[in-house]
Symmetry: C2
Subunit: 158 residues, 2 copies
DNA sequence: TAGGTTAGTCAACGTGGTTGACCAAACCGT
DNA sequence: ACGGTTTGGTCAACCACGTTGACTAACCTA
């Protein structure tokens, strides 16, 4: 029978998950900065993803990101100022203001996707494809299923 | 030969790492709240860890956390107000002010460690000890070695 | 048409971070 | 022993991101 593994302290697991996440995000934004998107902050990538190619409204964006509509509105303001998003009136509902990606925003979103693929590829070169897939599958198994509705910002600040 | 796995989009990996981390941290603080530490925010746990049983100074704390000494000082202020930390004069260097855990702070730190161990145990019940250890080992392999000097807050806000 | 719901905005505030400026204490080379 | 530099702490102003509460305008429906 195999010698029992010594007990590992529980806090290294969250630290390593955070370290892995941060490494990917930091590498992503370092490369994005090189490709002409230096002003994009980590949060902004998630926002662009949540807006999507079809656009949304500020309230719906708040829902997707799990924050208030006011917070979503302010974030949209900043990304509009940076040239990543634009607002347009909805001809069928004068209350709504559509939030859409500008060409610059779409460019940032597309580059993010490419870079993320490259970074995952780099992980498979050190770990092998099976190990990376195993990490993903295992994490899916221990993570609430509803998590993937992009429930992201604001959690750390509280 | 095995059928080649279809390419997985790169962005699910960071999302799952974040989901795993957040799940652990959220569960930790839900349990901490039940055990009388409802005011502890996610950030505070790292700060208590960084202060440690021996105490430090605000500047050194800033180094450990990777933030400015001013930011560290403000966070210490808040945790002093909450009763988790206390300041004391250094008899050998009148400039320094030692930051120490109060009994309440030490209690929170000890409970965090216990709860983290329980949470890791819960993961091994669904995944098996080998898979959890494999996640840790794999993440160590793709994460900068210097990461473990607790380089944590402020990265998301940027 | 009146009454309720929904989208957006404004204001005030809290938290966590940044830089720059400053003082007092400590250290160090002459 | 003294004078210049380094170090620790604090203050002030500011920024990013979040919250709640209050309010208006537009839409929907009984």
């Amino acid at each position: 029978m195999p010698t029992p593994e010594p007990q590992r302290p529980g806090f290294v697991l969250p630290l390593l998950l955070l370290a892995g996440f941060r490494t990917l995000i930091d590498d992503l934004h370092a490369e994005l900065a090189r490709q002409g998107h230096a002003e994009l902050r980590p949060l902004h990538g998630f926002v662009l993803q949540a807006v999507g190619a079809d656009g949304t409204t500020a309230s719906e964006l708040g829902n997707r990101l799990g924050v208030s509509k006011q917070a979503a509105g302010k974030t949209v303001d900043r990304l509009v100022a940076l040239g990543y998003l634009e607002r347009a009136d909805d001809s069928r509902d004068a209350r709504r203001k559509l939030v859409r990606l500008t060409p610059h925003g779409l460019d940032g979103l597309r580059r993010s996707a490419v870079i993320f693929d490259e970074l995952r590829q780099r992980w498979t070169e050190t770990l092998g494809a099976e190990r990376v897939a195993a990490i993903e599958d295992d994490l899916r198994a221990v993570t609430p299923a509803n998590w993937f509705r992009l429930d992201i910002p604001g959690w750390f600040t509280g």
